[in-house]
């Protein structure tokens, strides 16, 4: 070890606390990078493998019913490699020992195993056998949740008939990597499952002999960018059979959520490390500049002894690089650990045949490289400063800094009212511009991370409140397989414990406004509906008008519609005429692209008596009534789905909010490290620089707390100014996140309340104060008598 390296080693070990503060900021940055980039790869590779394994569809077309022979025409379209007709329905599931009827999606699979589009991966048991018709393969998560085993019998209500089905196996499929029931945003394996039945059995059960109501398709290689065109053609061919929706893979719910998560990880793998490593570079910059200044005479002596500029420069640069290496090593270990935690978090939401956290050597090397780069960048200013020194000049003590007044002094009335302590603090803050800027930058980044974390939590809460407390207010929703008349409402009203029943009519169809088109639907509600209440941006209720549509903002944007415009709508069922409908209100919605209208207005347009496709119920809270209600619903005619809002909200809060809290805790921890590290660094450097000044104050009769308060005020000014600047940055970050995640399925509300700002500010101050405890301890420990006598 060269003598300079020995000097370096001793300098490093003598200021261990300070270095730890910087190294932990770097380590957090590297850990963020490693954990997020690793998970990006874990998910991306798992997704690619899984999609290939299941032969994931490139598109799907949902329609009322079409003969298989006519569906084959879609397979002939240019660019289409292969299609698979499928029968799919929603059904209720009657599980012994479970009060509530559960919801399921029933999908047909070939009777004999063959590779098909949107195939399944068996987890337990086997594929269908030849022994019986009524065999079912249950999706693995639902089976696991209800402890269902191959060999057990369950009851599915298919086409109004209660069918006894034997479970032969459990399976997963890539189209349900993120398993969502209708209208849900998080998987709920307790209440929603997927049930695969034999194609022949499906044809019988649903009266679909030689027909199907869904087409899955794969495109020829290289045709991915022409999906829209292909789907338009397919739709034209299938138009006579009533196309409900055409879905390119991009918009397939599971794929959409998964892809967005993966894209989000990729973005965060850049943004978060950039924040932390940027702060680390700023903090190193301050430290190294101070070191260079402090070692002025040493530098002069080294140069006088014949050390070259390059040797001295690299000696100082090495100081930063050592920090970079230690930070990267710690960050690598932490990142691998966090990565594993994140992967297991993803396993809770996403179902893959295999999702493991891997050790990617190249990512760890990249982590090391960016850590070193940022350390070198941070050290550059300090290291360059030593180059400029001429030996003779360097060996003389540095002339005192020229004192001059600061901007604030021009505000005479203010300045004269300040105590000398405050004047010292303000002058110190304004003169050490680089240090103040670095501190404020760190505080801003810390505050931005905190604000972003809090806003994510508040946004999630707000979304749940808005959609599931304010807009949807029913306790139980019933969806019918086919439209029913007014009598269904009376039947529902008569169910046990029902206080209020309101009809709902969902009509699927196409919207058109000039050149803009969109598949969707209209939900008919009664005039003064109390169980579904559309709301505006401020969450104020919007009444359902007698005539015209209340359209969600997202759909209005897609169709370029404003309030008062007229859109065209072609229902998928009935006469299928294009109707011109005025948009009378624009409503806010964070899920889907809902459109509301008066149910009687809708029925009139469809030229029908009042019809309904579902009923919403408000019930009392009597558990016995609820049990009786569920019992009766198990035999309620034509029921396709039963949803309990309470169950849905409970699941949402449990899954979303809990994982959100984990993330927020991590955010707070990371922000804490940034605040703590940068404040500690700045204050300890300030303390070291002003030992003599502080000793003088102690001699003059200032107590250690009074001296400490000077340092505290300095760090607090920097922290508060930085945090104030960081809060809008955090808001911007949340806004960018919301924009990045915005889709037709899901929008993330950007919500900041006074609680956001107060919590961010309070935490910033709390971190500042806790860092100051260490500084105060150092002030108490300072041997000021020695500092007083030491030569400057």
């Amino acid at each position: 070890m060269s003598i300079l390296d020995r000097k370096l080693r001793r300098e490093l070990t003598s200021s261990l606390g300070l270095l730890l503060a910087i190294v932990s900021i770097m380590a957090v940055g590297v850990a963020c990078y490693i954990s997020m980039a690793s998970n990006y790869r874990n998910l991306q590779e798992a997704k690619t493998r899984y999609y290939a394994q299941c032969r994931m569809a490139d598109f799907s077309i949902e329609l009322k019913k079409a003969p298989l022979a006519d569906l084959e025409d879609v397979g002939e379209l240019p660019g289409v490699a292969e299609i698979r007709p499928r029968i799919q329905f929603f059904a209720t599931v009657d599980l012994d020992g479970f009060a509530r009827p559960l919801n399921g999606q029933v999908l047909s699979l070939p009777d004999r195993r063959e590779p098909v589009i949107d195939d399944v991966v068996l987890r337990r048991g086997s594929y269908f056998t030849d022994r019986r018709e009524n065999e079912v393969i249950v999706n693995d998560a639902f089976a696991a949740h209800h402890r269902l085993q191959p060999g057990q019998w369950i009851h599915l209500v298919l086409n109004n008939r209660r069918q006894e089905m034997l479970i032969v196996g459990t399976a997963i499929s890539s189209e349900f990597a993120y398993l969502l029931g209708p209208g849900a945003i998080v998987p709920d394996p307790e209440h929603f499952g997927v049930f695969y039945i034999k194609n022949s059995f499906a044809e019988d059960a649903f009266d679909f002999d030689g027909a199907a109501n869904q087409v899955l398709g794969r495109l020829a290689p290289g045709m991915g960018n022409r999906t829209g065109e292909t789907l338009d053609r397919a739709e034209r061919i299938l138009a006579p059979y009533g196309v409900f929706s055409t879905t390119p893979a991009r918009d397939q719910a599971s794929n959409r959520f998964l892809s967005q998560e993966i894209d989000g990880l990729r973005a965060f793998a850049v943004v978060m490390p950039a924040i932390f490593l940027g702060v680390a570079a700023a903090v190193i910059n301050v430290l190294l500049s101070r070191l260079a200044e402090q070692q002025r005479t040493v530098v002069g002596t080294l140069k006088a002894l014949g050390y070259t500029n390059a040797q001295v420069f690299f000696h100082f640069l090495k100081f930063g690089l050592v920090l970079g290496v230690i930070g990267a090593a710690l960050g690598s270990a932490m990142g691998y650990g966090f990565g594993g935690m994140l992967t297991s978090q993803y396993r809770q939401f996403y179902e893959f045949p295999e999702l493991n956290n891997h050790f990617y050597t190249d990512l760890h090397l990249t982590g090391l490289a960016i850590s070193l780069a940022c350390a070198a960048l941070g050290s550059l200013r300090g290291a360059r400063a030593v180059l400029r020194l001429k030996p003779a000049e360097a060996m003389r003590p540095k002339p005192p800094r020229i004192g001059h007044s600061v901007v604030l002094e021009r505000i005479g009335w203010l300045w004269t009212r300040l105590s000398t302590g405050w004047r010292m603090v303000l002058r110190g803050t304004l003169r050490n511009r680089m240090r103040t800027a670095a501190g404020a930058f760190a505080a801003a980044m810390g505050a931005a991370v905190l604000t972003n974390g809090f806003m994510m939590a508040q946004g999630t809460n707000y979304l749940i409140d808005f959609q599931f407390e304010w807009v949807q207010r029913s306790d139980v929703d019933l969806t019918f397989k086919d439209e029913r008349g007014r009598e269904a409402l009376w039947e529902a009203q008569a169910l046990p414990g029902v206080d209020l029943a309101e009809p709902v009519l969902n009509v699927a169809g196409d919207f058109r406004h000039g050149p803009y088109k969109k598949k969707g639907g209209i939900t008919g509600l009664v005039q003064d509906a109390r169980l579904t209440v559309p709301r505006d941006l401020e969450a104020k209720p919007i009444p359902i008008r007698a005539v015209g549509l209340t359209m969600s903002r997202k759909l209005a944007e897609i169709l370029h519609v404003e309030q008062g415009d007229v859109v065209e709508f072609q229902p998928t069922k009935g006469l299928r005429d294009w109707l011109a409908l005025p948009v009378v209100e624009i409503s806010e919605s964070y899920l889907g692209t809902s459109v509301y209208a008066n149910i009687e207005y809708m029925s009139r347009l469809l030229k029908e008596e009042m019809i309904l496709s579902g009923v919403q119920l408000a019930t009392d809270n009597d558990p016995e009534h609820r049990a009786a209600l569920y019992r009766e619903l198990k035999t309620f005619p034509s029921l396709e789905a039963v949803n309990s809002r309470a169950d849905m909200v409970a699941n949402l809060r449990e899954t979303l909010i809990q994982s959100m809290y984990v993330f927020i805790l991590i955010f707070i921890l990371f922000a804490g490290i940034v605040f703590f590290g940068s404040i500690l660094n700045a204050s300890l450097i300030s303390l070291a620089e002003r030992r003599r000044e502080i000793a003088t104050l102690r001699v003059l009769g200032y107590g250690p707390w009074e001296v400490g308060s000077l340092l505290l005020r300095e760090s607090m000014i920097t922290t508060v100014v930085g945090a104030l600047a960081g809060m809008p940055l955090g808001y911007g970050l949340s806004w960018l996140t919301a924009v990045a995640y915005e889709s037709e399925l899901f929008r993330f509300p950007v919500v900041a309340t006074s609680a956001t700002w107060i919590a961010t500010g309070a935490l910033a101050v709390a971190f500042g104060l806790s860092a100051h405890l260490f500084v105060q301890w150092a002030v108490h420990r300072l041997d000021w008598l020695e500092a007083l006598q030491a030569k400057e």
Binding site: I402, S419, T420, L697, R698, V699, L700, Y702, L788
Partner: protein
């Protein structure tokens, strides 16, 4: 601690068999051995001795910057050696003024503000401008230390010390960093302070010539008092040559 006036010959500070041992690593260094002395109100006491003789240690103990290892120190009727760190802080704040060889001004503050650092925390302070007038620096009061000469900086330091109306002014080589003429001017200032305000001044120095201006001179060697000399006719600073 009260600063009630006492008779001119009253004892302000008394050292009784004071010893101080520093432990540096494994070596114990005896800085003071059995030092007993009295400092009277309103006198200028010069403590002379070569470096390492224990001058600074006496000053530090007298000023409440450091504590003795053995013996007792009395300030008026208070036993200083029993003071807690907090009480010592109060003692320094209200009773003692310090002047250092290298001034120890706060670089960030103007002359006036440097004086205010002291007046803001003391109980019966002088007006900072008045204190600067006493050292003939009221014209330069808005200058920063870096804009002043060494003599001016030392005068600011003296103004800072006397602005709190201290009972005891402790000066550590007050002219050590100054040229001859400036040094004499600073010395004159200290003598004037004593004459006009009755301040007790202890000057420690290794410059024997300087001691001619003192009322009493104590010589130290190796931590012990080797000579106490009463100077019946102190030499005016202007006539001292070194």
């Amino acid at each position: 601690m009260s600063s009630t006036p006492t008779a001119p010959t009253a004892v302000l500070l008394r050292f009784e068999r004071v010893g101080k041992t520093f432990t540096m690593g494994e070596v114990a260094v005896e800085a003071l051995r059995d030092v007993s002395m009295e400092i009277h109100r309103g006198e200028i006491l010069a403590v002379l001795g070569p470096s390492g003789s224990g001058k600074s240690t006496i000053l530090n103990i007298a000023g409440g910057l450091d504590t003795a290892t053995t013996g007792e120190i009395w300030f008026r009727e208070h036993r200083l050696s029993d003071f807690s760190p907090a009480e010592l802080t109060c003692y320094r704040r209200d009773t003692v003024g310090f002047v250092f060889q290298f001034y120890n001004l706060v670089a960030n503050l103007t002359a006036r503000e440097n004086v205010m650092v002291s007046t803001e925390i003391s109980r019966h302070p002088m007006d900072p401008v008045e204190a600067l007038r006493q050292v003939e620096l009221e014209e330069r009061m808005d200058h920063f230390p870096a804009q002043m000469s060494g003599g001016e900086q030392q005068r600011v330091a003296i103004a800072r010390a006397l602005a709190k109306n201290p009972a005891l002014l402790l000066c550590d080589e007050p002219t050590g960093a100054l040229d001859f003429a400036t040094g004499k001017r600073v010395l004159r200032l200290l003598v004037d302070l004593k004459n006009r305000l009755g301040t007790t001044v202890i000057i420690i120095t290794h410059n024997a010539a300087l001691a001619q201006a003192a009322d009493r001179i104590i010589r130290l060697r190796s931590g012990q008092i080797v000579e106490t000399h009463v100077n019946e006719a102190p030499t005016p600073p202007e006539e001292i040559v070194w």
